[in-house]
């Protein structure tokens, strides 16, 4: 009886997942094959002809090949900010776990505050303008690092506490300087959490729509999510092109997920329980 109940549960879960995740994705794919008239109907009909390549060409060359620029920008922002995030978050986690000072409580409060308090857009823009970073890629990278740092630190910190202190000490005796200890001993041991960080943060940053919209104006600064606006406006929307665009920009996160998929859950729970 019990196994039958769990089987029904499993089937229900699969069905729900199919409805929530797979059907919308199939809809995107179908739409990307349609021409403009058919796609305007927004139904689940089979495409009348094969228009995928026409749509792709149209999407990529729109507004002076904006899609290419957007892909370059987004990749650059994602790679650099995720790299910075991993190094900085692991460093903060390392110091917090190893060095007990009276400031630790305050620092932990600030980390939690960073996670809970929503960032204010206008003062941030004002600050960026003052620093001459507004509307530049490196300004955007710094914003992404700052916004996502607390979450990464929290992922790392619990795990670092489980790495025995003797390892650091053995390395120090072996002649390691602080940076050697961090980069040669601690960081390699953090790999499971680093994978989780890479996946979660790179998908988040690559798919980010609002922050580039606020902080990164200008055609030459477009990121992939902003290219969606090329085909959607108040009075007319080219649904076939919009969905082709969606299909295109979904591919990179999908690849990252498929690549690291198995290791994500391990990293999420690593360090939570001492094992």
């Amino acid at each position: 009886m019990r196994s039958r109940a769990s089987m029904f549960g499993g089937i229900a879960a699969i069905a729900a997942t199919f409805v929530v995740f797979v059907i919308p994705f199939l809809f995107i794919i179908l739409m990307a094959f349609k021409d403009k008239q058919q796609s305007a109907l927004r139904d689940f009909s089979w495409p009348n002809g094969f228009h995928l390549f026409d749509n792709l060409y149209e999407v990529i060359k729109t507004r002076n090949w904006m899609m290419i620029t957007a892909f370059i920008n987004s990749s650059l922002i994602t790679v650099v900010s995720v790299t910075l995030l991993i190094v900085l978050a692991a460093m903060v986690g390392f110091v917090l776990a190893r060095r007990k000072t009276r400031w630790n409580g305050l620092i932990e409060f600030l980390i939690l505050a960073g996670l809970m308090i929503p960032p204010a857009v206008v003062p941030t823009i004002w600050l960026l303008q003052g620093l001459k970073l507004f509307g530049t890629l490196h300004g955007m990278i710094l914003i992404q690092v700052a916004y996502n740092l607390p979450f990464s630190i929290i992922l790392y910190r619990a795990f670092i506490a489980t790495i025995p202190r003797e390892l650091d000490e053995a390395a120090v005796i072996d002649g390691a300087r602080p940076l050697d200890v961090f980069f040669r001993i601690i960081l390699p041991l953090l790999w499971p959490v680093t994978v989780t960080n890479i996946v979660v943060q790179s998908v988040g940053i690559f798919n980010d729509f609002t922050n580039p919209l606020y902080y990164l104006p200008g055609n030459q600064n477009a990121t992939v999510q902003l290219t969606l606006y090329n085909f959607q406006s108040q009075f007319s929307t080219a649904y076939n092109l919009l969905f082709t665009n969606i299909l295109l920009i979904t591919i990179p996160p999908l690849i990252v997920f498929m690549f690291f998929n198995r290791q994500i859950v391990a990293g999420m729970t690593a360090g939570a329980v001492k094992g």
Binding site: L167, I173, D174, G175, A176, D180
Partner: protein, 362 residues
Amino acid sequence: MAGLELKNIQKTYGKVEVIKGVDLSIEDGEFVVFVGPSGCGKSTLLRMIAGLEDITGGELYIGDKLCNAVEPRDRSIAMVFQSYALYPHMTVYDNVGFGLKLAKTPKDVRDQKIREAARILKMEHLLDRKPGQLSGGQRQRVAIGRAIVRKPEVFLFDEPLSNLDAALRVDTRMEIAKLHADLGATMIYVTHDQVEAMTLADKIVVLDAGVVQQVGSPIELYQRPTNLFVAGFIGSPKMNFVEVTVEATDGDTVTVSSKDVASLRVPATSAGAKVGDKLTLGIRPHDLVPDNNGAIVGRVSLVERLGNETIVNLELSSGAAWLAVLEGDQPLRVGESLALAAEPAKAILFDKDGKSLLAPLS
């Protein structure tokens, strides 16, 4: 090669004094063992020598160099940790070679040194494995390999055998002794196991509550402890103690007696002892022999027959619990009365401050 000199070394954590002024000189090539009960500060002292803990007060010289503020990497020391502390993500080869790599030793020299260390420790076949694939004894070997490959002047061992099983512990102990003989380097070894201390050491330092109680060769500590703590700590089973009263003094012997012990003439300096004084008498369990006219009479409360010897728990008339280790197999029964004679020459008297009243060596 280098000796060490500790001058009034102190360590405090906040207001807690952990090491209360240790003076110690260790000669080049000596094997020194720090022993003491848990929390006596022996590991802290070792970690201060290693440079892992700051020195609050006093001076530490390694060789002729004042090392208080010198980084661990510049002290020419190597340390073996209780938990081995091998780097889990590196192979044995890289673990052993890590220090050399940091010192930017050329690759061919490094390779040669790693292989030589592996040969000395007979672990050439393990070089490609990761620590997770090794047994406890093999990990210990790698940890020692990591220490010897750098040819340090001083080796520091922090309870290196406590995670091994009994048989392996004996083997590794012998290997460490052999290593010391082969390398001739200064070694400092921390343990709470007095068998390790007695078998390995040239010199034992007994610590209690952050104070050095006695420094000396193993046999010296066994035969001539300076105080009650050392007498009770060194030797297994533990020395028996009983309170006695001085009956007579005579130059270099003191005659004592109590409710439990009929009068016993013990060689001791009589300088501080007057008739009627209360002293503590210490007799090792091995120095007691069954004798119907013996000075010590008690009731047998437990018998452990090991074949080659018999360990007897006795309850004396004052209620004190004593141990006696008797030669051979003794068919004693619980509840029986047993009279024991003690060899007075091996008994030790302690004054009321716990200081031993040993007669000067003739």
